[in-house]
């Protein structure tokens, strides 16, 4: 069974469906039609390029519809005469009610039958007076799963295919590799939105965007979002921007604070091939660094210095090159305002947003990061893992080795160093002190809490 990840529908065909829906819903009759097009592999994107209505012999009733199959077959042959790859991708079904377009149990059984038979890619487009949705069977085949849909808006006389869209980059990128890769981008602000846009236009298969902020007036002057997007989530704005350039990329959006829901972030990280830390926050990057090292997922971090006078790009190959923590003192000086802390200090909105810096200056390190990320996704070797840029047009490429006593990527080394310090201070090796003697010093709790010989930690994030 094939489960499409996304449905693309040409605007011209969508208009035809809408016309059919309006025509029959006012008469309170069910209607339907046939959706033809292509399935793009390996991303499993269904592109609907032709719509065929129910046909002259279609029968429409208030609670049922049966299409003219002979008419549809005839139309299909005509279409395949022009393009042999065209096939029946699914059906459109109209329920003339004012409800959310949820499919019925009858629809479920019908879809199970079709998908288990000749058409494993089959989907249902269900329309009601409230709108439309695309549905597919979930992995267990016993319930429906909504599929994201995008209406392809381009002039009717233009011919848009994936091949033509990627024509100017196909010889310089490895589309076969990129189309199967997933990038996780944390933070889509002024820098992150640039990274998301340009990386999304490389033929990359899937991009996951994470940010918990909405677009504000002060953001607009240096963000992909426009004035009309004020109040909308930054992730959705970036999703639309990427999809308007490359509809064949699958964009997922998540709105949550990564420092407060690390488990959710971990699940996303395990599905990705590259982690991109573009929030500029050392707090967030520390968490990403931990996940990158633990899971062995390559990562790239970017940050901007004060007044966007420069920035850095750090590429991390876990276990092989320096991690974010190895360079912490350098990267922590990057330009970041902790919103929580600022709120506590009762700073005004103006003071909070006093992060001066031109979008031009922010975009240069962001573009450098995008290029490094693309190389990593294509499996190319990165000669220099640290790039430092300043707005005086100076670019420094450095090769930074792992720190022997980094507490994140070389924990044993860090532990040895700490133990050595202890030994120097006390003249006694830590190994001489038994585990029992360490915890024997624990004393009775005064007011709350309980005495424990060995502290219990419920969550697993301690490392």
């Amino acid at each position: 069974m094939i489960h499409p990840n996304k449905v693309l529908i040409h605007r011209k065909e969508f208009r035809k469906i809408r016309k059919d829906a309006l025509q029959w819903s006012v008469r309170n009759l069910e209607s339907g039609g046939y959706l033809f097009g292509k399935v793009h592999l390996p991303n499993m994107i269904a592109e609907i390029s032709n719509f065929v209505d129910g046909g002259p012999k279609a029968r429409r009733f208030p609670a049922s519809f049966s299409g003219d199959n002979e008419y549809a077959t005839q139309k299909k042959k005509e279409m395949q005469g022009i393009d042999p790859e065209i096939r029946l991708l699914g059906e459109y079904h109209l329920h003339p009610w004012k409800t959310f377009p949820n499919p019925s149990i009858g629809d479920l059984r019908q879809l199970q039958e079709v998908k288990n038979g000749e058409r494993p890619w089959y989907t249902i487009m269900l329309a009601t007076k409230q709108g439309f949705r695309f549905w597919d069977l979930a992995e267990d085949s016993n319930e429906f799963k909504e599929i994201p849909c995008q209406i392809l808006r381009f002039p009717d006389d233009a011919s848009v295919t994936e091949e033509r869209l990627l024509n100017r980059i196909s010889k310089i990128t490895h589309h076969d590799i990129l189309s199967q890769k997933t990038a996780l981008i944390i933070g889509v602000g002024s820098g992150g939105s640039v990274i998301a846009k340009y990386l999304g236009c490389t033929g990359l298969g899937r991009v996951m965007l994470v940010d918990n902020e909405k677009l504000e007036v002060v953001n607009v002057i240096r963000h992909e979002g426009r004035l009309s997007g004020i109040g909308r989530s930054k992730t959705n704005i970036c999703k639309e921007t990427i999809e308007s350039h490359n509809p064949f990329a699958i964009i997922e959006t998540y709105e949550f604070d990564v420092t407060k829901d690390i488990q959710k972030l971990e699940k996303l990280a395990t599905r990705s091939n590259l982690i991109i830390g573009s929030s500029g926050s050392p707090k967030v990057n520390n968490i990403l660094n931990k996940l990158s090292i633990e899971k062995g997922i390559p990562a790239v971090y970017g940050g901007i210095y004060e007044k966007a006078s420069g920035g850095y790009v750090l590429a991390v190959n876990p276990g092989k090159s320096a991690c974010f923590n190895c360079l912490f003192s350098l990267t922590s000086e990057s330009y970041f305002v902790d919103k929580e802390a600022v709120a506590r200090y009762n700073l005004s909105e103006d003071e909070l947003h006093e992060q001066q810096g031109l979008w031009i200056d922010i975009s240069i390190p962001a573009l450098l990061l995008s290029r490094v990320a693309l190389r990593m996704l294509q499996g190319e070797t990165i000669e220099h893992n640290l790039i430092i840029y300043d707005s005086k047009f100076e670019l420094r490429k450095l090769n930074v080795a792992r720190r022997d006593a980094c507490s994140v990527c070389n924990f044993e080394g860090w532990l040895r160093k700490q133990e050595k310090i202890e030994q120097l201070q006390t003249g006694k090796a830590t190994s001489e002190i038994s585990r029992q003697s360490i915890f024997s010093r624990l004393r009775k709790k005064i007011t709350t809490g309980r005495r424990s010989d060995e502290p219990k930690v419920v969550r697993n994030y301690w490392s």
Binding site: N346, F411, L415, E422, I438, G449, V457
Partner: protein, 117 residues
């Protein structure tokens, strides 16, 4: 707890027991968080209850520090109403241990009582 986490807490406990023997470690029933708790005396000012609270994502997120009994007056933005102090001068670093936070707290109190804050 991961093996590395176990090693880390052993080291931190060892450091605290050696250098801050009046502090003890316990797990708070309400929050499930691990807390170092003990008294501190700086420039003749005695605080009977100082708490260094581990974050569940330790060492990747910073430890919180509360100075209580008596609580510090909220005379500046570094002291919060619930007794928490903002002790870090730079960003939190994953290499900081409870002992490092303990020393930073002493430095904070010294600055506070010497009028340098």
């Amino acid at each position: 707890m991961t093996p590395e986490g176990r090693q880390r807490i052993r080291l931190e406990t060892l450091q605290m027991n050696r250098h801050a023997p009046f502090f003890f470690l316990y797990q708070d029933d309400e929050t499930d968080k691990l807390v170092w708790r003990g008294p501190l005396s700086v420039h003749g000012h005695y605080h009977a209850d100082v708490r260094l609270v581990y974050n569940e994502a330790h060492p990747y997120l910073k430890m919180k520090v509360y100075v209580l009994q008596p609580q510090l007056p909220c005379v500046n933005l570094h002291i919060h109403e619930d007794g928490e102090i903002c002790y870090e001068k730079n960003e939190w670093n994953p290499e900081w241990t409870a002992y490092a936070v303990y020393l930073t707290t002493i430095r904070f109190l010294e600055e506070f009582y010497s009028g340098g804050m």
